[in-house]
Each structure stands twice: as C-alpha cells, then as structure tokens.
C-alpha cells in the first residue's frame, strides 16, 4: 500500500490545519466588520448632529500662545505647528529624562549591592520610598517646592556669574551666537565617529593579536579636541549672552521653566528607582561563580565588571529597562497637571477649541504609539546585539 492510500481522505472542514486558517479568516472578517460598523456609525452620527470631522482644522490659525517651545512659534501659526511644538516638548523632557534615569538608576542599582552598610541602606530607602509615592504627587511636590522656595525675579538668587534662580525658572548665560559653534558641532560628530572607529579597530586587533591598546584617552582627545581646535582656529570667541532683568522677567540667555524642572525631576526620581531595581536584579542574576572564575584567571576588578558581569547582566536588564523608558515617556503626559506644555496639553487645548475630539484623541494615540514603538524597536535591536553569542 502507498502512504496516500493508508490515510483516508479527510474533508477540509475536519482538517485541523485548514480549519485553523478558516477560523482566522472568519475572525478577521468579524473584527473588520465591527471596526467598519463603529467607524461608519460614528461618522453617520456626527454628520447627523452636524459635528465637523476630518483634519482640515490643522491648517487653521491656532490663536493660542504656548509657554515654551524649541522652535519659533506664535499665536498666528497653525494648529499643526502648535501640535508639533507639543511633540518637541514631550520629546525634550522624555529624552533628557531617559538619559538621566539610566545614569541615576545604574548608580543607585549598583549602590544597592554595595558592601558598605550605609550606602546599601540609603539606596534601599531611596528605591522603596520613590517607587511607592505616586508620580503625580511627586510632580505637585517638586513644582510647589520650586515656586515656594525661590524668590521673585527682582530678588533672584545669583550664586555665580551668569546664573539666576527665581520662581520663574533658571536663567542661564549661554555663548552668544557665532558661526564657530555650528562648525564645532560638526567637528564633535566627526570626532565621535573617529573615536568609535578607533574602538572597533582596537577590539578587532585584540581578538586577532591579543594585544591591548588604551582607547579612553584617544577617544576623549578626538571627540573633545577637534571641536576645541575649531574654536581656537576661530580666535576663541568668548562673547556671552547674559540674562538681564527687563520689565517682568529675564531676557537673553536661556530660561528653563519651573514646569520643565518639576516634570523632569519628578519623572527621573520616580523612574530611576525602578531602573535601579532592574539593574540590581540583572547583576544578581549573574552567578557568583562567574566572578570567581574571572578572578581566578587574574582579571582586574574593572575588567571583571566590564567583560564578564555587565555583558551577562544586560541580557536581563534590557527588557524591563525598555518598559521603564516607555513608562517615563507616557508619564510625561502628566505634565498637564503642572502646566508644562507637552503634546497632550497642546492637543487638549486644540480639542477644546475645535471641538474635534475624535481626531484629537486619535492623534494623541498615534503619537504615543510612534514614541513607544520606536523606543521598543531600538531597544530590541540593542537587546539582540548584546545577547550572549553561544559558540
């Protein structure tokens, strides 16, 4: 008998494989139908109640002012631009927040495992307290502290030249604009690229020949030395843009608002406690034997951490770290409570003015989806890269 004869022909509705595909198609159809029904129903009802729909409003004049902006913005610009200002503000606080969070989290996480009793307990108290106070309360606290603690602009504290602290924020002197700065920025990029190239070359050489090469100093020299060289070549411009009290507030320099500080501080302190726990868990996940083995072959202490412990710990740390980074970005929408003009705050004003809540909420959802997915993709790429390569 041939094999085909041994199996009786199964009708397709009894074949588990085909049946599974069939159910998938039916499910897709039903979900699609439901989605179509909901969208259609919404549109028909909005039409019936003569509520405007569509994204045409984005081109209309926004007619409201925004407290702080990374780009030039005025009330006569369009809603689209106002929303873009909001996106940039969210990105600004999230990006700086994530960087600070990683640094502080790593530091506290390592401190939590210190053999020094005091350091260990302090880190533990920080983690336990900050994790358990809701982030919104922390925002209110830091914001109130800022405007209660510092004097009005006329009595601003001036701890050092070019720095003013008052309840309107921190005014900081910055170098007055000069063509040199853009070239210095380019030089920095080139320096960094050369530095990373050098690092790769050193690593490769070490694998093939086993010989070491000090990478830190040449790296710093390249990335900082090049911009410095450009600066000197331009005759070392020293002109500063110093903030000055004019009328109600400081003019010139850069002004960092209390809202930005309070939001950044609240988010970083709250999230870094979680990051610290992830770091601790990661380090503890690496078995003690690894350290002992590394020690037994005579590796130095810094090499043990860099070459043995951290590469293995990272595999455990990265996934929870990703979710903390996403949390920080999403929590930044609490900005509305303390008046930092983030994306949600601007979108809310837009919804309020145009009455087009469906479009507005859709944009908020889409925006945070993009933030989250791109963070996630980047972190997954990094996770893959730092995975243990088994040989």
């Amino acid at each position: 008998m041939t094999p085909s004869e041994s199996e009786p022909k199964v009708p397709f509705w009894l074949d588990p494989g085909k049946r599974a595909i069939g159910f998938q198609i039916i499910t897709c159809l039903m979900v699609g139908l439901l989605a179509w029904y909901l969208v259609n129903n919404t549109l028909v009802n909005m039409e019936k109640q003569s509520i405007a729909s569509g994204f045409g409003f984005l081109e209309r004049e926004a007619a409201f002012e925004i407290g702080e902006s990374l780009i030039e913005y005025s009330a006569s610009d369009s809603y689209a631009k106002a929303l873009f200002v909001g996106v940039l503000n969210t990105l600004k606080v999230s990006f700086i927040g994530i960087i600070l969070c990683l640094i502080i989290g790593l530091f506290i996480g390592v401190a939590r495992l210190s053999t020094n009793w005091l350091v260990k307990k302090l880190a533990m108290i920080y983690i336990e307290v900050m994790q358990n106070i809701p982030v919104l309360l922390q925002l209110f606290f830091w914001y109130a502290l800022f405007y209660e603690m510092f004097p009005s602009p006329r009595q601003a504290l001036n701890p050092m030249a070019g720095l003013f602290l008052c309840n309107r924020g921190v005014a900081l002197a910055v170098p007055a604009s000069h063509p040199a700065y853009f070239q210095m920025f380019v030089a920095l990029i080139i320096g960094l690229a050369l530095g990373f190239g050098l690092k790769r070359w050193v690593k490769k050489r070490k694998f093939t020949t086993g010989r070491d090469f000090p990478v830190l100093w040449p790296f710093l020299g390249l990335s900082l030395g090049l911009p410095l060289l450009v600066w000197v070549l331009h005759g070392a411009p020293m002109q500063m843009d110093v903030p000055e009290l004019k009328g109600f507030n400081f003019q010139g320099g850069i002004m960092l608002s209390p809202e930005f500080f309070a939001l950044l501080l609240g988010l970083v302190i709250y999230t870094s406690a979680f990051v610290a726990e992830a770091v601790r868990a990661g380090i503890q996940a690496v078995s003690r034997g690894q350290t002992e083995a590394a020690m037994s072959i005579g590796l130095k202490k810094k090499h043990i951490l860099n070459l043995v412990i951290l590469p293995q710990a990272l595999r455990v740390i990265i996934p929870p770290l990703t979710s903390q980074m996403l949390n920080l970005t999403k929590n930044s929408s609490l900005a509305i409570a303390i008046g930092y003009p983030d994306f949600v705050s601007v979108a809310n004003t837009t919804i309020n003015q145009t009455g087009q809540s469906i479009e507005g909420v859709a944009m908020i959802m889409a925006c945070y989806l993009v933030f989250s997915v791109s963070t996630s993709i980047f972190m997954n790429w990094y996770n893959k890269k730092s995975k243990l390569v088994e040989r």
């Binding site: 039916i26 003569s50 405007y147 009005s152 087009q356």
Partner: protein, 337 residues
C-alpha cells in the same frame, strides 16, 4: 458558542442604536429626571456646599428646567464635567443639557453641533494682579507671565489681546484650578486671567484677598449660556424659554414669595405667564403651570442672582450687565405670548 455570542452582541448593538431615536423630552420624561452637566467646582455657579448639596447660578438654571418639565425642581441629576469633557458629554448624549459657564461662540454652534440658548450670565475676561506689582492697566503687562485658567476662549482671548496690543507674554496653563491658584498666589505668574466672575471667586480664596486687584480692562465678551444638541428643536425651545421665563418673571415683578398672590392678578401678561389663561405651556409641550412651577420653586432671575453671586454673597458681584434691560443691563426676555 463563542462566535454565536458575538453575532448576538452585534445584532443587539444594531437594535439599540436604532431605538435611541426619540426626542430629548421623551427621553427625559421616561428617565424621570434631567441629566445636567455642571462645573462642580466653581463657587457661585456650580459647587457643592458643606452639606454636599449643589449650589449656584447654573445649578438653579438646571432646577428651573426640571421645574418646567416635571413641576418638580429636584428632578435633576448633576454630572460634574471639566472644560475638556463638557462638549463631548453633550454630543454623546451623556447629558441632556449643559449648564456650565460655557461661552457661546460661532465655531461651537457650527463645528460642534450645539445650540446655545438665552445666556444666564454675561461675563467678560479680565486680569487679577498683586497690588505689589504696581500696575494700573492691562496695557502695562508687556513681557509678563500670565497664569491661564484652561478653557478655550480664555486662552484665545488672552493671546488676541496681547497680539492686538503688540505685547509679548508667556502663559502658564494648568488644568487643575486649585494648583493654578496656588502657583499664582506664590508668585509664579505676574497676573491671572479668566472670566471676571471666576477671578472674583479666585480672589476670595487668596491668602490675603486685599493684596490683589482686578485690572479695569475687560478684554472679551463672554455670554455664558446653557447648551443643547443641534437638531432637537422642541428641547431647545423648552430650555430657551425656561431662561426667558426666569427673566420675564423678574420683569413682571413675580417672585417665589408672591407668585401665589399673582395668580389673582388681572394683568393679562401675568395671567398668560402663570397659566391662568392656558396655552403657553401647551405650545412648548409642557403643563400650563410650567412658569408658575419655575418661579414658585426656584424664583426669578434676580432672586437666583442675588442668592448665588450678588453683592451679599462672598463673591459680591454687582448686577452690571446682568441687570434687567430696564435697569441698563442685558437681561431681556422676548415676549411670552
């Protein structure tokens, strides 16, 4: 079984959406109460008192609607709404009418599918500043930081005012009113801007109300009016003429105290108004005693104003624009005939 359940669910959703077609008056009567959107935290307009009972000008307006529909001013259910929630709540039929210090604007009537009735309060936007700032006019606010109570027209009016006068400013917009007040009183901003009536309330909760003053400029017109959905003319008429009735009662000198005596009046206008001569209520689809019930249970517009925001209340707002037209104000009822 599961796919079957889903089909049943889909069909019932379709059936329900087909049923929800009746007019608002029928819905309200079937429910037995009027669902009213209210501010919930605005002193003098809509805020619970120490006993937890809703009090305020907007609250009394809502009670007048219930009195007109049911003959019972207590048949109201209040839903506290934020500035962002209020319009969608009305659009999605979560509430029947919005009585929440909402300014009538062209874009709201045309883009949001809403209709505003006769205003129950004529307001205008102003500025509250610390006296220590030493300024006498809003024109001196160039370069100032201004705390803005969120709300659409507020942010736009302020932006328009500064643009029109060629002045720079920077806003601090905080959604939570209490937090914004705290920031302002701590000196985070040079000025606080909002409707005059709200600023009066904010000032009354300041640590030292005497240290703050209202600048003379009123930079906008804010006719605050109850709102209903587009497309239900009968319900619009009922809410609109309830407002008219409150004003008409004051014009005719009818109060909650003397309304029973007024039933014996020979004045044909009063007889028509109170339903002694029947007809007016019927035209609205209500009882002929609709206006009698409003005045008897809630009072006339003047009584409502004096009770909630007038000179003898902590807000201490003079009648001003909200006086009857015969006293130089804006309150004017179209003829009830």
């Amino acid at each position: 079984m599961k796919p079957l359940k889903m089909v049943v669910a889909c069909i019932s959703i379709l059936a329900m959406s087909a049923m929800a077609m009746a007019g608002t008056l029928d819905d309200v009567k079937a429910k037995g109460y009027v669902d009213v959107g209210i501010n919930g935290s605005l002193f003098g307009f809509g805020m619970p008192d120490e006993k937890g009972e809703m009090k305020g000008l907007d609250v009394d307006t809502a009670k007048a609607i219930a009195a007109a529909v049911f003959g019972d001013a207590s048949k109201v259910k209040f839903t506290a709404l934020t500035a962002v929630q209020r319009l969608p709540a009305l659009q999605s039929k979560e509430i029947d009418v919005l009585c929440r210090n909402t300014t009538q604007t062209l874009s709201r009537e045309t883009q949001s599918g809403l209709n505003f009735v006769q205003p129950n309060y004529y307001d205008g936007q102003g500025f509250l500043v610390p006296k220590a700032l030493g300024i006498k006019s809003a024109k001196e606010l160039d370069g100032a930081t201004v705390c803005v109570l969120p709300g659409t027209t507020t942010e736009m009016n302020a932006a328009d005012f500064f643009r029109a006068n060629g002045m720079k400013w920077s806003p601090v917009v905080i959604e939570n009113t209490a937090e914004l007040n705290k920031a302002f009183f701590a000196g985070r901003c040079d000025a606080l801007t909002s409707d005059m009536s709200q600023l009066a309330g904010n000032r009354s909760v300041a640590p030292n109300p005497e240290d703050y003053m209202l600048l003379p400029e009123v930079i906008s017109k804010e006719p605050l009016a109850p709102v209903v959905r587009h497309g239900d003319d009968q319900w619009f008429d009922i809410v609109n003429w309830t407002m008219m009735a409150l004003i008409e009662a004051e014009e005719l000198g009818i109060t909650s105290q003397n309304v029973d005596d007024m039933l014996k009046s020979e004045n044909p206008g009063i007889k028509r108004f109170l339903g002694v001569t029947p007809g007016m209520g019927q035209m609205l689809g209500l009882d002929n005693e609709w206006a009698y019930n409003i005045v008897k249970q809630v009072g006339n517009y003047g009584e409502i104003f004096e009770r909630n925001v007038g000179p003898d209340t902590p807000l201490g707002i003079p009648r001003g624009l909200n006086a009857l037209w015969t006293d130089g104000g804006q309150m004017y009822a179209s003829p009830i005939r």
